[in-house]
């Protein structure tokens, strides 16, 4: 999902805020490397304004997505998990670890933080009542799923077309062609047999 940080982040009023919003958008689009994403995730956990942006965009992503991934849970559960996660110690390994291990650990923390965001921010959003985002709403998935929201909505809207328009695998072309040789027309005119059998240009 591409978002104009200027319009979305106007309320922040600072260039830094714009940059953070821009990075958040890039992260949601899966365009941010882990080293850049980690501090952003930390900011996301601590800054209400950034969380608000995140919630809003997830909500947009959800609106584009089908309801099939929706799951019920109570806002109270969200709050309890949120408090429990806040009480968790942040440092999970001794400093004596090698830099390589520290790198892996940092990645792990980033993943854990992302999960925390999912629980703290995204899930309550999914539960929201129709008119109150963040209390009861459509399902969402954090991270790289927002770019796929387009696709999800497209698929949901054109099921029949999707069925009829599966990606063609040239490897199966000889079978389609050979099937045509012995296909009586059925109820479809002969032209349908020639046209439906596929990639004539490759023959």
């Amino acid at each position: 999902m591409k978002v104009d940080p200027k319009s979305e982040g106007a309320s922040d009023g600072t260039e830094d805020a714009h940059k953070r919003v821009e990075r958040l958008s890039a992260w949601l689009d899966g365009e941010l490397d882990a080293p850049v994403a980690e501090p952003l995730v930390r900011e996301l956990l601590s800054e209400k304004a950034l969380q608000s942006k995140y919630q809003a965009w997830c909500f947009v992503g959800d609106a584009l997505r089908s309801q099939e991934v929706a799951a019920e849970h109570s806002p109270q559960l969200c709050a309890r998990i949120s408090r429990a996660l806040q009480d968790e110690p942040r440092l999970l390994a001794p400093r004596a670890l090698s830099s390589r291990m520290r790198h892996h650990l940092a990645s792990g923390v980033a993943v854990a933080a992302a999960m925390a965001v999912l629980v703290l921010v995204a899930v309550p959003l999914l539960r929201g009542s129709g008119s109150t985002p963040g209390v009861r709403g459509e399902p969402t998935v954090v991270g790289k799923t927002v770019p796929g929201a387009d696709l999800a909505s497209r698929d949901a809207g054109t099921v029949a077309a999707g069925e009829a328009h599966a990606a063609q695998q040239p490897r199966l072309d000889p079978y389609f062609q050979a099937h045509r040789d012995f296909t009586p027309e059925g109820v479809m005119p002969a032209a349908a047999i020639y046209l439906r059998s596929g990639n004539e240009n490759e023959r």
Binding site: A160, A164, A178, P184, G186, V187, P189, L195, R196
Partner: protein, 351 residues
């Protein structure tokens, strides 16, 4: 549809109360006499209706084979739309046909009786195919009565197609092994002017329709000639030889209602200049849908052990069984194609 004229029903004159009060024994006797007749009349009406439906299907088949016509056909599946010029000439003995796709790479299909020439000018290549029944829009070998044992026929009124009023009829499958069809038939000629293939939810998988058509008009035979001089073109004749799968040690369980049309050993022509590959092909049809089963030993290594592809109403399901590739292609739902592929079993050939 039967029509009832209220004016034709006249009240019986009353001759007296006693004459209108038959004894209960008389009533029972009357019922005993009348009920079998009524049941028989009902059965007769049903069989009459079935006969009419079968005749109606047969009429389409006959019209498809014994009419001359020319027109433009539009074919659509998903967001793909293709148009073709179609000409058929019936000379009283056999029909000849030319299909001229109007989009994509230039190519033409010219049929003389059972032989079809596929012309690809950009490759300077002609692929000659042979087919049993290839008349415009005809049915496969099973008789219309067989078709109706697996599809129910429902008349849905009339609609205008290509400037003509057509009868609309649905052929809906009686099980989930096959797709349904909605047909627009021009009643005077019996020709299909439009046809849709419907999936199990009634959604249109593909459709084809005339946008303009000329029937019962003299068609110039010159319209059957190809657009290009084909001198010097490569001619490919995919070889096929009748065989029996059972003799080769294979057995296939076709779904209910699918009759075996052919079993051949043939060559598959791959893309480009790749060498032809030998494969067994068994063909089945329920009268509307056709399914081919290909059994290919030592074919090209597939990327996946199983793969499925759909093109409009045609599904291909392919699976690897040891060093043999089994591929089912047909106008059937994916589940049907898969079940047929999974029914293919090898045992030692009979001695």
């Amino acid at each position: 549809m039967a029509r009832y004229d209220s004016h034709s029903v006249q009240p019986m004159p009353r001759t007296g109360a006693t004459s209108l009060a038959p004894s209960w024994q008389g009533l029972v006797a009357l019922l005993i006499l009348v009920l079998p007749l009524a049941v028989r009349a009902g059965e007769s009406a049903k069989s009459e209706e079935a006969r009419n439906d079968a005749n109606w299907l047969q009429a389409i088949q006959n019209a498809a084979r014994h009419q001359s016509f020319s027109g433009t056909i539009v074919y659509q599946r998903g967001d793909e739309v293709h148009a073709s010029r179609v000409v058929q000439v019936y000379d009283g003995v056999q029909s000849r046909e030319r299909v001229l796709p109007l989009d994509g790479q230039p190519r033409e299909f010219i049929r003389n009786g059972d032989e079809v020439q596929c012309l690809y000018p950009h490759l300077r290549r002609i692929v000659v195919e042979h087919s049993g029944v290839r008349a415009f829009p005809a049915f496969a070998e099973p008789l219309p009565a067989d078709v109706l044992s697996h599809y129910s026929l429902r008349r849905q009124g009339s609609e205008r197609v290509a400037g003509s009023m057509c009868d609309v009829v649905e052929l809906l499958p009686r099980d989930n092994l096959r797709y349904g069809y909605r047909l627009w038939v021009e009643p005077t000629s019996g020709l299909l002017f439009k046809a849709q293939t419907l999936n199990e939810r009634g959604a249109v998988l593909e459709q084809i329709a005339f946008t303009d058509v000329h029937v019962r008009e003299a068609v110039d035979p010159a319209l059957l000639k190809p657009s290009w001089s084909t001198a010097g073109w490569t001619i490919d004749r995919p070889q096929s030889k009748a065989t029996e799968l059972r003799q080769q040690g294979w057995s296939v369980t076709a779904p209910s209602g699918f009759h075996r049309l052919a079993e051949v050993m043939r060559h598959l022509i791959g893309e480009g200049d790749s060498a032809p590959r030998a494969a067994l092909q068994a063909v089945y049809s329920d009268g509307l849908a056709t399914v081919s089963v290909f059994i290919e030993r030592d074919g090209p290594t597939p990327a996946k052990p199983e793969e499925t592809q759909r093109r409009g109403s045609v599904t291909a399901f392919s699976r690897q069984v040891g060093d043999v590739r089994v591929t089912v292609v047909g106008e059937v739902p994916p589940a049907t194609a898969q079940s047929i592929a999974e029914s293919v079993v090898y045992s030692s050939p009979p001695r």
